[in-house]
């Protein structure tokens, strides 16, 4: 093997750094959307590689649904403190009060849809012209269609039938006032790539990614949802105590845990490599509502 050779992870890493720097170079007020999940944690590591020893040319922005895992919030606060970067948090709770929105009802009522309002308000409040996100094309079939620079109109809407051509590594981020661009540096990474990268880079993660004992409600689809104040528990509910880990970190109300003994990154990589279920299929209960759930949310301004 020639010494001038990059393996696939190094290629993906370089592509992602290039995209991050394009965002920094092309936009006046970018932001990095940080959720506390492994994909946005990976983005932060890539941003360090792109901009250190300088500061990030953007703040981290967290849209807090109020239904987060405590561990993810602690991780976030700790990380920001250590890195000395700026964090902006905006709360879905506040949007609900201001706009007098109806709280979603039902057993595993999710604020996932309401998150979009807060996101769009935050974009407007700070005048962000670009938001970097950790979405991957392998996650979902509508995402598989999205450009790396995805132009959104002033309502944040995605028009999948009118996407700009995007050739080679040339990213056209030119927009009109009021529009914004969602930028996805790890578009071409798979879930396994992210895990392998976390392993290679030795990136610390919130503890819920590793196997731990947890009390969970068993749903009709046999998914495990953590017992928390955010879900309604009825006497008829089957509650079990299981050794679980999380494959994704979303809201506590709509993210299912998976049974697992994996206590190290190596164990997790092994489990993911042989898993016969997709990340979303196994862990998200909000995507199963309709066939085009994600497409519709994106059209409405979601990530």
């Amino acid at each position: 093997m020639s010494k001038y050779y990059l393996d696939y992870l190094e290629q993906l890493e370089s592509e992602a750094i290039h995209i991050m720097r394009e965002v920094a170079g092309q936009f006046e007020k970018p932001a990095l959307l940080f959720s506390g999940g492994k994909d946005s944690i990976t983005l932060v590591r890539l941003a360090e590689k792109a901009f250190r020893p300088g500061k990030f040319p953007f703040p981290l922005v967290h849209i807090d649904t109020g239904h987060n895992f405590r561990e993810a919030l602690d991780y976030r606060d700790n990380m920001v403190k250590q890195m000395g970067e700026k964090l902006i948090v905006r709360y879905v709770e506040d949007t609900i009060k201001e706009k007098k929105l109806a709280e979603p009802k039902g057993k595993f009522a999710s604020r996932n849809a309401l998150q979009t309002y807060t996101l769009l308000d935050t974009i407007e409040e700070f005048g962000f012209d670009a938001c970097i996100g950790g979405a991957r094309r392998d996650e979902e079939k509508a995402r598989a269609k999205e450009r790396i620079f995805s132009v959104r109109d002033e309502f944040g809407s995605w028009d999948p039938k009118l996407q700009r051509p995007e050739l080679w590594n040339i990213y056209n981020g030119k927009i009109h006032k009021g529009e914004n661009v969602r930028c996805f540096p790890i578009s071409n990474w798979t879930e396994l790539d992210v895990w392998n990268y976390i392993k290679k880079e030795n990136i610390p993660l919130p503890s819920i990614y590793f196997a731990h004992e947890r009390e969970c409600v068993v749903t009709n689809q046999n998914q495990l949802i953590a017992v928390s104040d955010f879900i309604q528990i009825e006497p008829s509910d089957k509650i079990v105590k299981k050794k679980v880990r999380y494959r994704t970190v979303g809201d506590m109300t709509c993210t299912a845990a998976v049974e697992s003994d994996a206590s190290t990154i190596d164990d997790i990589v092994k489990e993911i490599a042989i898993s016969r279920l997709s990340e979303r299929g196994e862990t998200r209960i909000d995507d199963q509502v309709s066939e085009a759930a994600m497409e519709d949310r994106k059209k409405g301004g979601y990530f």
Binding site: S2, Y4, Y5, L6, D7, Y8, E10, Q11, S14, E15, I17, H18, R21, E22, A24, G25, Q26, K49, A50, F51, R52, P53, G54, K55, P57, R137, D138, E140, K141, A142, R143, A144, K145, R147, P160, K161, Q163, R164, P165, E166, L167, W168, N169, I170, N172, K174, I175, H176, S187, N188, T190, S275, R276, L277, S278, G281, E282, E291, A292, E295
Partner: protein, 413 residues
């Protein structure tokens, strides 16, 4: 492990999406919940048939109409290699999306419906693949099940394609007879086409040579961003951040900064915050120079003595991708790597008739999906290579000055 990026092409309904679905299905790359979802949606599920095209046709409008509108990206790997697949639309209206997917591909699989043979869209996509200089071309004659797996039909189409391949600009294509629907010669060899002695599609994809596709000779380092922390301890730090698109840069190399032409020497190269002796394409690094010269985003650092052309007059082959025609005299923004400047269309030398493959002269405008040879004048000098020499420094896009939409793909001559 390395990555092969490939795209499917060919006319509408030739079976591109079905082929991708089949490739993923037969290589056991479809996960159980995804498979359950497409089974549920397949129209003929009662007959036990699943519509594998649904796997990539991820938009509601695509599923309703049974066509692909925009490129879908899919990922899978075998023990040999990782693959990034772009499933392109065949419909002429969405040619711009095929161009998008093809621009980053190392290989194209051009599908031909065995019943229809070589048709206009086969030629259009072949021309685009050749303009974009995709290193590897596979021509797959699909739906062999509908022509009784007849070797003669296959041979005739191969001959027809070979007769025009030179005009199309396609070099050394490989041919393969397949049925995407029934999964023959995709991952498993076909029992119905014993007369075909070549490998299955997956073996071709796993074995095409990729090493020579990266240029390590001509160093080009477009500066994306200048890192200046301006803190007390890093007061004088000034690093040029970018990705080496081709070639190798070493500490001590004498360099030029283009288009201005300033000279300096590489003092330091940083990768992951650590000094390294050299960097090579396609690494993202930070470069420091020995002299304080004026460099900003859009400039390109190259080795002295191996320099691109600095010019304001460029000749390009152009794929026009907008409904609004491009006329001689029109002004656009041109984006080359990360540099955006204004330019004007000086003239159209000829337009390529995709069907007859003839060059039409005295053309006043380029219409949607036209391929033309065009001369452009840029507002300021830019540093370009010909696409034929250096794919990574020879491509550019045109951007409409009012809508800001990307309207043209330029292959610099």
């Amino acid at each position: 492990m390395d990555i092969l990026r490939f795209i499917t092409a060919g006319s509408v309904d030739d079976g591109k999406s079905t082929l991708i679905g089949r490739l993923l299905y037969d290589s056991k790359s479809i996960l159980a919940d995804q498979l359950a979802a497409i089974e549920k949606q397949s129209k003929n599920k009662d007959k036990g048939e699943i519509d594998l095209a649904i796997l990539t046709d991820g938009l509601r409008a695509e599923r309703e109409q049974g066509i692909t509108i925009d490129v879908a990206y899919k990922y899978f790997s075998t023990p040999k290699r990782k693959f990034i697949i772009a499933d392109a639309p065949g419909h002429i209206q969405y040619t711009r999306n095929m161009v998008t997917g093809a621009s980053n591909s190392d290989l194209v699989v051009i599908l031909i419906d065995a019943r229809k043979g070589v048709i206009e869209q086969t030629k259009r996509h072949s021309i685009i693949a050749s303009l974009l200089a995709l290193p590897h071309v596979v021509v797959a004659i699909n739906k062999m099940d509908l022509v009784n797996y007849d070797e003669k039909v296959y041979n005739q189409i191969v001959t027809d394609y070979k007769n025009i391949q030179e005009q199309l600009g396609i070099k050394n294509p490989r041919f393969i007879p397949i049925s995407a629907l029934s999964g023959e010669n995709i991952v498993d060899p076909s029992a119905n086409m014993k007369w075909y002695k070549g490998g299955t599609l997956i073996t071709i994809l796993e074995n095409v040579e990729l090493k020579n596709d990266i240029n390590l000779t001509d160093a080009r380092f477009p500066v994306q961003y200048v890192i200046r922390p301006q803190t007390d301890d890093l007061h004088d730090y000034r690093g040029y951040a970018g990705k080496l698109t081709s070639g190798i840069l070493k500490v001590g190399d004498k360099i030029s900064v283009l288009p201005a032409g300033h000279k300096s020497t590489i003092k330091l190269i940083e990768k992951d915050g650590k000094p390294v002796d050299e960097a090579f394409a396609p690494q993202s690094v930070i470069v420091h120079l020995a002299d304080e010269i004026d460099i900003s985003r859009g400039d390109v650092i190259v080795r002295e003595g191996n320099e691109p052309t600095v010019t304001q007059d460029i000749e390009v082959l152009l794929c026009w991708m907008d409904a609004k025609a491009m006329e001689v005299g029109s002004k656009y923004l041109i984006q080359h790597n990360n540099k955006q400047i204004r330019c004007a269309v000086k003239g159209i030398e000829y337009k390529l008739d995709v069907n007859t493959l003839e060059k039409q002269t005295s053309v006043a405008a380029a219409q949607l999906n036209d391929v033309c040879k065009v001369t452009l004048k840029t507002a300021r000098p830019i540093a370009v290579d010909s696409y034929a020499k250096l794919r990574t420094n020879g491509g550019a896009v045109l951007i409409d000055e009012t809508s800001y939409v990307t309207v043209g793909a330029c292959i610099i001559q």
